[in-house]
Subunit: 634 residues, 2 copies
């Protein structure tokens, strides 16, 4: 299994991402800290930190918020940790230390730490794993603890996490006196694997594996615990077949297609891949790989969005990908890249980097406004605002919101951006794999590289060896799936490299100053969807390099559906003023107009039209209006 | 205001409709009678007649069913009455008399009759007009009473109805001691107008007008009665703005667009038109006409379906007409033709007959299976069964059902078919207006005509004068909106007739034996939808004469979306074996296939394909499968 470089070993200085990471650092981190502390006027209080103060006995009061409210803090701490790893900030670190100290005071003597149950009755803890998110919250704490320890070297949160993990390890397992349960919302598996990575304690990895395999067994634990509570196992609210929503309908090793709540599915796959990879459990990785393939080949939007329905925020069936009825939760795309990046470490293949790239540059970035203050929970590929606002069966926001009651997406975007370094490269088997072309300095084990990248506007990348240990080294350079051709030079000479599993392989005794240039020409592509997908026949999506483009009403007028595009007719121009600087694609096409009648057999009139496409990630930043990714062919 | 001929004056003998009417008579009437009497094994009991027996003191027990359960009986009686008017059936009439006798026993001494409140507490009657359907049930009883009296001459039900109407007339009105309310579900207005027509009692017409004008006033009665119950006026379940669901957001004379529950909207408009027409209240008719225009010009599916969302079974906004997300309740299309036929009597214009024809031959007939035993509540224009079954946000049945818990549609279809004569013609101003070309003998006031029609397969119609009073008579013959041209002959000689308001006018001193032939060539038309409608650009719907056609998987294989049609290339062939005999339309077109990739910029492959269209009304009679009305243009 390949290892990522530590964030401390990566210095990102990228024209595209650095400002976004800085915005996350300078805007989102303090905004969320204020939100978690109920200090934002006009925004409903989170009560998140308050719950910890009450649980620590420092204040009187009751628990408020969702049963997973604590996780908002842990995701914030994780995002802060990634930021601190590369951008020390003593004041921020002091704030984090303080809230970690607070959490320590709230922790129970046996290690238990979840303010929902501490304040609502510890006798009820671990009685409703399916719905009440205790293990999910624990997983986020474990991720935060591993990240904070890696960033700061401070053990306080790691110790808190280990105490809680030990508590879980006593409570759950195959023993007769133990509970044979698993979480309703996966995340603890991944968290435990990271805790294992941070501590070397194998019990944590074993417990993660236990939680994975306890899932979907017969009799189903979720049914048993429901009966034990005197209830019934049916879930009413989402109408989904019981336990499929939780990926607990069959054991995880028997699962073949993505089902149920999309974020849960993604976290499960990430956990399976991480645990399987670390423990050498191939059949577990096989199962995760199978389900990931199902997503990528049949259930993923072209933007990397996943989860085709708002009911249960869930996957539906193969090829069911309606553009305006999708859910495509930002968190779900994040869970997809968390899986894909891990699968790429266990079974290196450029296609996993392609998935990360697709989701990162499109369906995840679309979740946050250009000024970093507003968020989409859902990321549709087509919006007609009047329909969104007046059809009561629509669950699509046509404008980004400042903060959500269920605030999972904003801190998830935060930790993705500040932790971006995790996605860039990995090393192992004497090879440094470069997956994402983001300008940065990479201090790998035996080699330090400067990477200068024009992505996503230009496909030229230069890698310069800054220092290197003597001997042969191998670079594996991902050739993006969208690149029809590529040119690679070494010190100015074109080289022809073998491409294996999506990577161009360059092996040599590198010396300091060696320069490798990669050129992946970014051509405008007019993408068709599979014939099995009902919504897109006769339509194309315009892409260029890693980016998916869209039409907005702002540039093209209303009733975008009347426009069609002439494939092949395109010009690309960088506009530094527009949307913080984007490539604008202009195509020729037609606009259709009809008679005034609702139905008429007169042929519509076709007039020439110029279509202006902007990157999908930037949509909805210029006021409310129509948007569409898929456009009819002229 | 024109008057329809009584049903007794119309003898239908139509190749297309007579078998359907016979099926309603021979299959649906007894089936529903058994359903109302809880005698159908495997079908959840209706309790409808049982409720009456308990209310009459003949049995012990509790009320079961919806608060509007009684209306199922009244719609059955109305349908039976229409049948008896032209097809005497002593055994059936005895059954009806018996249940009418039972209802008389359940009626309270002050005339009140609604088993829901009789059995659940009369002290609560008239305290929740908005939700509990008392006045809706009353309206259906009044319609049934007028119909049964007209059919049989028996006054028993008419007397019951008048006693209840008198009770309502004491309870509701402008007087200080009266309630100033109106129904949450309109229907009583139309019922009262028919009771006025049957009895000549003007109080009933005035009460109908009162209910219409009490609607949407400030303060809103629905809010006041909610406060009086100690509740709040908000409706939670449908998320629609309060009172718009009930068309009670503003006074009816100020309403301009169709809103809220589609059946309610239709019944309201039918009531406004009938009351306005009978009382000469032009502004009331103006308002109804405005809203009807909004429906027909902007909110009606090409099949005559109305109600674009299942949430609230409601209208949405102009041009929002998604093909697979519509509700298009069969009852809503019935309410549309109830309105249109009345508007055509008050303000004769062929366009109203066009609306009746469109809904009748398409969106209403699609609601019932060819064998008359199964029903669609919803009538979508596109169905992908996998999506219907697996997307939890879909509310579309992909197969007709035997009976519904909320069994409004089956008896509504029943009364529409057995009462079909109401829609054929009307007379007044010395003119006989022929609206629907259904083979029949029409015994009008001064003239008896034999009509032989080839509709909907052939546009040739012959009208033969069988007998006539001396003097000039005028026939107004609707020229269907779909007819690009027409030829009319009189006794073999082509005549050129003036066409006014959609009617060809033929005035002459007719003599017995005069024969008028009409020829409306039924050409295949490829219909486009308005540019303002987002779902249909680049697509056409195939129509021929009054019929809308569709593609079914059964004839065209799966993944219908890959097919496109070459407009203009069509052959029409009558297949007597298929779907009880239909015209089949064959067109040339293309089938698109792609690579196996989910997204790919390789051009799809186009192969020639033959497309087979069958009438929309007949879809879903050959097992489960895909269906679509709108098809991409090749």
């Amino acid at each position: 299994m390949l290892q990522p470089l530590s964030l401390k070993s990566i210095d990102i200085h990228d024209a595209f991402f650095s400002s976004r990471i800085a915005m996350a650092r300078d805007t989102a981190i303090p905004y969320m800290w204020n939100a978690l502390n109920d200090r934002i006027p006009g925004v409903a209080p989170s009560h998140c930190v308050e719950n910890f103060r009450i649980a620590a006995g420092l204040e009187k009061g009751e628990f408020h918020g969702f049963c997973f409210q604590d996780s908002d803090l842990w995701k914030w701490v994780e995002g802060v940790a990634y930021s601190l790893a590369t951008h020390p900030d003593p004041a921020l670190e002091a704030e984090a230390d303080e809230v970690i100290d607070l959490a320590g005071k709230a922790q129970q003597s046996d290690g238990y730490l979840d303010t929902y149950y501490i304040l609502n009755g510890l006798d009820k803890r671990f009685t409703n794993l399916r719905d009440n998110h205790e293990l999910y919250v624990a997983g986020h704490m474990f991720e935060a603890a591993a990240a904070y320890y890696a960033a700061t070297g401070k053990r306080a949160l790691l110790d808190i996490a280990c105490r809680f993990a030990d508590c879980l390890d006593r409570e759950f397992g195959p023993g007769e006196s133990q509970k044979h349960g698993c979480p309703g919302h996966e995340e603890v598996e991944l968290g435990l694997a990271r805790l294992y990575e941070a501590t070397g304690c194998e019990r944590y990895l074993r417990l993660a594996a236990y939680f994975l395999d306890a899932r979907g067994q017969t009799p189903n634990y979720f049914a048993q615990e429901a009966y034990a509570r005197g209830g019934k196992p049916e879930m009413g609210w989402d109408h989904l077949p019981t336990f499929m929503y939780h990926q607990a309908h069959v054991p995880v090793r028997e699962q073949t297609v993505a089902v149920g709540h999309a974020v849960r599915q993604g976290y499960l796959l990430a956990g399976m891949t991480e645990v399987g990879g670390r423990s050498g459990d191939h059949t577990l990785v096989d199962a995760a790989s199978r389900v990931l393939d199902n997503i990528v080949d049949r259930q993923m939007y072209i933007t990397g969005g996943v989860g085709a329905t708002h009911v249960g925020e869930a996957f539906t069936i193969d090829y069911d990908l309606p553009p305006e009825r999708c859910y495509n939760e930002t968190c779900a795309s994040i869970s997809l890249i968390m899986t894909a990046v891990r699968m790429g470490r266990v079974r290196p293949n450029g296609r996993y980097g392609d998935v990360v790239e697709r989701a990162l540059y499109n369906g995840i970035l679309s979740g946050v406004s250009l000024d970093g203050t507003k968020y989409f929970y859902m990321n549709p590929l087509e919006v007609w605002p009047q329909r969104c606002e007046h059809r009561q069966d629509m669950q699509i926001d046509d404008e980004r919101q400042g903060w959500f009651g269920c605030a999972c997406c904003p801190p998830n975007v935060l930790r993705t951006l500040t932790g971006l370094g995790q996605y860039l490269c990995a090393q192992g088997d004497g090879t440094l794999y470069i997956d994402q072309y983001v300008s940065s300095t990479l201090n790998a084990q035996d080699i330090t590289l400067d990477m200068e990248s024009g992505f996503p506007w230009d496909g030229r990348v230069t890698l310069t060896v800054r220092s290197v240990k003597p001997g042969a080294h191998r670079l594996a350079l991902r050739v993006p799936g969208w690149a029809r051709e590529h040119t690679i030079t070494l010190n100015g000479e074109t080289v022809s490299l073998p491409v294996e599993n999506g990577y161009a392989l360059l092996e040599r005794a590198f010396v300091s100053g060696d320069a490798v240039t990669l050129d992946f020409p970014m051509e405008v592509r007019f993408m068709h969807a599979s014939q099995h997908t009902p919504n897109y026949v006769g339509k194309v999506a315009v892409t260029c390099g890693p980016l998916v483009y869209c039409l907005e009403e702002k540039d093209n007028g209303p009733e975008l559906w009347n426009l069609s595009v002439r494939c092949g007719s395109s010009t690309v121009r960088f506009d530094p003023e527009l949307l913080c600087g984007v490539n604008v694609i202009t195509c020729q096409g037609l606009r259709e107009t009809t008679s005034a009648a609702l139905y008429d057999d007169g042929a519509p009139i076709q007039s020439p039209a110029t279509l202006t496409f902007v990157p999908y990630y930037a949509w909805g930043n210029r006021g409310k209006g129509e948007m569409t990714v898929w456009v009819r062919k002229a």
